[in-house]
């Protein structure tokens, strides 16, 4: 029964990891940018939510309606300026630039906010409540909610990419951006849209994380970025549903690890991550044919 509980908790936590990971995966898939600031952006999303809630008194659960558009707009602008400028100088430059961005964000948060941990929605019944399955399994409403959000986001993203005009343009640009230019498409604009989506999803993840746990300025690189990377690699780069699978595998591994020894939680996740890298470096989901 303990194991069943671990697996259920792990799967649900995987939804949160998938939310972290899908933006990272999207930005890599479309513009070949490995965004090392991705985790910090999630934390920024958390802080923005904190600010929005303080100022507007909007309910925590609905704060995303304001936070996600703000972060998405920020993502578009950042992509069109800083990240595009880095891309123009080569893919490696984007690594350095996003690393620098990560450092800047962390220190700016330390400077202008503080080093304390924050969390969102303490005392909210939905966020802190749970229900029981049998005698040993306690399931938090929040984790179920986050998992559902992750599935909805992935479904929405998949539909957007496969059926909408902009989704088609994103896929075309990911395939061959020069050929897309010859079809009249400004790939920089398309990159901006992809970044906006990535930032929007990571903001959602940041809000979810703030409700699930607590965040501080350094949480982004300490925890979130690494979990997101692990989820992406386990699931398979460039695969949307792979990020969910990767998140779930990571979550389950962590839960089982913590069952063996509480201090082994994180270690167990990375052991699985390493195992996948060695045995199946392309990820668990077979990568779709890429040209």
């Amino acid at each position: 029964m303990v194991w069943v509980n671990d697996i259920i908790q792990g799967i649900l936590t995987g939804g949160l990891y998938a939310l972290f990971a899908c933006g990272l995966s999207l930005m890599f898939g479309v513009m070949k940018v490995v965004n090392l600031a991705h985790g910090d952006l999630a934390v920024v999303g958390g802080y923005v939510a904190l600010g929005v809630i303080t100022v507007t008194h909007v309910p925590v659960l609905w704060s995303f309606l304001i936070v996600v558009p703000i972060m998405a707009a920020g993502g578009y602008v950042l992509q069109r300026t800083l990240i595009q400028a880095a891309l123009d100088r080569g893919v490696l430059t984007t690594l350095i630039v996003t690393f620098g961005l990560s450092v800047v964000i962390e220190n700016a948060l330390l400077q202008f906010v503080n080093a304390n941990s924050h969390s969102l929605g303490v005392g909210n019944a939905i966020i802190t409540g749970s229900f029981s399955l049998g005698s040993q399994i306690q399931i938090a409403y929040l984790l179920v909610l986050i998992f559902a959000v992750a599935v909805v986001v992935l479904l929405g993203l998949q539909y957007f990419l496969s059926a909408s005009r902009y989704g088609r343009m994103i896929r075309a640009v990911a395939d061959d951006k020069e050929a897309a230019q010859l079809s009249g498409i400004d790939y920089r604009h398309v990159f901006g849209i992809a970044a906006a989506i990535a930032f929007g999803t990571v903001a959602l993840a940041g809000i979810g994380y703030g409700m699930y746990s607590q965040f501080a300025p350094t949480t982004g690189t300490d925890t979130i970025l690494l979990f997101a990377f692990a989820a992406v690699v386990i699931g398979g780069l460039g695969s949307l549903w792979g990020t969910l699978l990767g998140g779930v595998v990571l979550g389950v591994a962590q839960q089982i690890g913590s069952q063996i020894n509480v201090s082994d939680q994180v270690l167990a996740g990375y052991l699985v991550f390493l195992l996948v890298l060695v045995l199946r470096p392309q990820g668990l989901t077979t990568r779709r044919a890429q040209s």
Binding site: R165, R168, M169, R171, A172, A174, D175, D176, E178, A179, A180, Q181, L182, S183, G184, I185, D186, Y187, R288, A289, Q290, S291
Partner: protein, 336 residues
């Protein structure tokens, strides 16, 4: 093909003046000028590395000239980004087809039509002229044969309703019979009022369809005129940069060019990967040798040939025919 209406008369639809393009240190185009009038089929011919593709790509906006100007419909378009030129009516079918491999046939056409100008071409119309395409519209283009991919690439350009269609090496990597079939579509395409500027290594094919030809060698113009006004000997000489008296067995112009049409190459099943297949055994990129030992006085390409051309074909291949054979299997200039 129909005779150009406005040659010498009204203003050209597309005009290139003294265009010079560098790839790093290498001068790929040197003071090239050309005028394309509405309704024309203007063919740029030349051996590998002559600068043909560079010229087309510069017109499409993918390379920046170091000097010179490009005017379209009377306006200077030098500063326009490639996508703005495409939406303005200059649409290129790139070398190697460059389809969106993970997209279906129909999605490729839809992408081409995203920012289409108003005009006669629709996806349905493309399905009409390529009758196999409608049935396979939901297949990924990566699964198509080389000739089918080329057709989709042409369709993707047509649905944008270009005023000038730039065709870059349609024959590359395709069997001669497929090339014939694709070129046979040209009259239907022209009937809708398009102007075509094409680059072709296959000289006989170009001479057949063009109303005006221009031959490049090492980034310079060596011959220009209507196909009916030039002799095979002139073309041969301009193509290889041979002096009029040099070059053994040079008279058989169209016969030798057929050698180019190799059977479908290794890269033909996948769009963007083709250039790799053709890159094998390449010796000369841009510096196609213009000055073989025999090409002395009066030779077109003798002057200014870059030092890199020393490794090139001219010093190795004894006759024009072999040079052409070889050049048919070398890579294009795009990669470097």
């Amino acid at each position: 093909m129909s005779e150009p209406q406005g040659r010498g008369g009204d203003t050209p639809l597309l005009e290139v003046r003294n265009l010079t393009v560098h790839h790093g240190q290498l001068r790929a185009l040197d003071q090239i000028s050309l005028q394309v009038f509405a309704g024309e089929v203007y063919a740029i011919i030349g051996a590998n590395g002559a600068g043909k593709s560079t010229l087309l790509r510069t017109i499409a906006g993918l390379h920046h000239p170091t000097e010179g100007s490009i005017r379209f419909d009377g306006k200077d378009i030098n500063k326009l980004r490639p996508e703005r030129r495409a939406t303005g009516g200059i649409v290129m079918v790139p070398e190697g087809r460059r389809l969106f491999g993970s997209l279906t046939v129909e999605e490729n056409l839809q992408v081409g039509a995203t920012y289409a100008r108003k005009g006669p071409w629709t996806i349905e119309r493309v399905y009409e002229i390529f009758d196999w395409m409608a049935q396979r519209r939901s297949q990924r283009t990566a699964q198509l044969s080389g000739g089918e991919q080329q057709s989709v690439a042409i369709g993707r350009a047509l649905v944008a309703n270009p005023r000038v269609l730039l065709l870059d090496e349609l024959s590359l990597g395709l069997a001669p019979v497929i090339v014939q079939r694709i070129y046979a579509m040209l009259p239907q395409i022209l009937a809708t009022g398009l102007t075509v500027l094409l680059v072709e290594q296959d000289v006989s094919q170009a001479l057949r369809v063009a109303s005006h030809i221009q031959c490049l060698l090492e980034g310079r113009t060596t011959l220009e005129g209507r196909p009916s006004d030039v002799t095979p000997e002139q073309v041969e000489a301009a193509y290889f940069g041979l002096g009029p008296q040099a070059g053994p067995g040079t008279t058989e112009g169209s016969g030798t060019t057929a050698a180019h049409g190799t059977t479908e190459g290794p890269g033909t099943t996948e769009g963007p990967g083709t250039e790799e297949g053709y890159g094998k055994g390449t010796t000369a990129e841009y510096g196609t040798p213009g000055s073989p030992p025999a090409g002395g006085p009066g030779g077109y390409g003798g002057a200014g040939s870059p030092p890199v051309s020393g490794v090139g074909l001219g010093g190795v291949a004894p006759s024009g025919e072999e040079q052409l054979l070889w050049s048919g299997s070398t890579t294009s200039s795009r990669g470097s």
